[in-house]
Amino acid sequence: MSGGSARSLGKGSAPPGQVPEGLIRVYSMRFCPFAKRTLLVLKAKGIGHEVININLKNKPEWFFKKNPFGLVPVLENSQGQVIYESAITCEYLDEAYPGKKLLPDDPYEKACQKMVFELFSKVLTNKKTTFFGGSSLSMIDYLIWPWFEWLVALELNEYVNHTPNLKLWMEAMMKDPAVSSLFIDPKAFRGFLDLYLQNNLEACDYGL
């Protein structure tokens, strides 16, 4: 039992003890997509681990000693070594533990995965500009938007709270006249999706 479903630790909680030998600990949060990356790799590689969930809205003071940025995921091993940043934790686990390698051995193939990841990260963090093409909305924003519109239609857009720049971008997009005039009605979308998943031939005409 990995403890992935344990209550989170928050302010005032006692710091956890040393990590037992033979295990690695991951500080996580059940709904954080970045921490999910690390949990996936732990599971895929069959690595013995324990999970401590952190209340990200009410962080324990001791947690900043693990990661000065106060973010999850963080790995801690029995030697007290701490690793943070989701991509770094994943690569560390792949290198440090035996079994199936998730990153390719070939240096070029490995570099390709990292190049794709960089592009994906740029979409997620969107650090530099308001819109993906610069300071005003352009083609690339319309090309990316439909997948994020799905998040809104499925009422899952809360999850971009972890990526504030992306959240700001979504809010800016929803003000765009083209985007708002074509906005999917969440009820209609749910109706469509239900029928679609049942392979109902009428799915595409739901609501007409």
């Binding site: 943070y84 770094i88 290198e95 440090a96 570099a111 960089e118």
Partner: protein, 244 residues
């Protein structure tokens, strides 16, 4: 004279042929700090390579087949494989080529160097903004303050570790990844930003003793000549200081 002392290729230039076997090609520009990282790794590992400098203000049309946005650095090998993003290119070279490993072997130490790189991410942007502000005659006290704060963070790391270099007592990948921006502090006019960080100044001095760093040190006057032309929007800036 470094091996990248060749004229840039610009619009209308003929695309270069395939990379000969046994060589790797670097698309670069003599004054670019990101490309500098890759040149440091090529030098440190003694990798046989050729450099093609790109005119960044007048990019050859064929260059967009090497990188979708026409950025540098890009590595191209004899199998026509392309690798871009300076950090990814540096890691690729360390993985693909034998001899001295620049990243540590220990997985935790490798992870630590990657975490350190994250601490550095504001430095390139801040140094560039300071340079632009100074060159345009604008005030940059706020920018310099922000840069000094970043340097304080790096100072703390050196203090906590009590080592000369960021990876330990010997120079390693992380030091080469940081170096290009520190080499440019003087010529950018912001060398005073390390006034309050003695460990960082010691690191700079130690880096200047490294044979790889030394082999690629850019002459201050040539750099200043480049900057003068660059800020006048002169497309010949990138070839400044070349004898041919």
């Amino acid at each position: 004279v470094t091996d990248d002392a060749t004229r840039t290729l610009g619009k209308g230039s003929a695309p270069p042929g395939p990379v000969p076997e046994g060589l790797i090609r670097l698309y670069s520009m003599r004054f670019c700090p990101y490309a500098h990282r890759t040149r440091l790794v090529l030098q440190a590992k003694g990798i046989r390579h050729e450099v093609i400098n790109i005119n960044l203000r007048n990019k050859p049309e064929w260059y967009f087949t090497k990188h979708p946005f026409g950025k540098i650095p890009v590595l191209e090998n004899s199998k026509c494989q392309l690798i871009y993003e300076s950090v990814i290119a540096c890691e690729y070279l360390d993985d693909a080529y034998p001899g001295r490993k620049l990243y540590p072997c220990d997985s935790y130490e490798r992870a630590r160097q990657k975490m350190l790189l994250d601490l550095f991410y504001k430095v390139p942007h801040l140094t560039k903004e300071c340079l632009i502000a100074l060159r345009c005659g604008r005030e940059c006290a706020d920018l310099k303050l922000a840069l000094r704060q970043e340097f304080c963070n790096l100072e703390e790391i050196l203090g906590y570790q009590n080592t000369v270099f960021f990876g330990g007592d010997c120079i390693s990948m992380i030091d080469y990844l940081f170096w290009p921006w520190f080499e440019r502090l003087d010529v950018y006019g912001i060398a005073d930003c390390v006034n309050h960080t003695p460990a960082l100044r010691l690191w700079i001095a130690a880096m200047k003793q490294d044979p790889t760093v030394c082999a690629l040190l850019i002459d201050k006057n040539i750099f200043l000549g480049f900057l003068n032309l660059y800020f006048q929007n002169n497309p010949d800036a990138f070839d400044y200081g070349l004898s041919c």
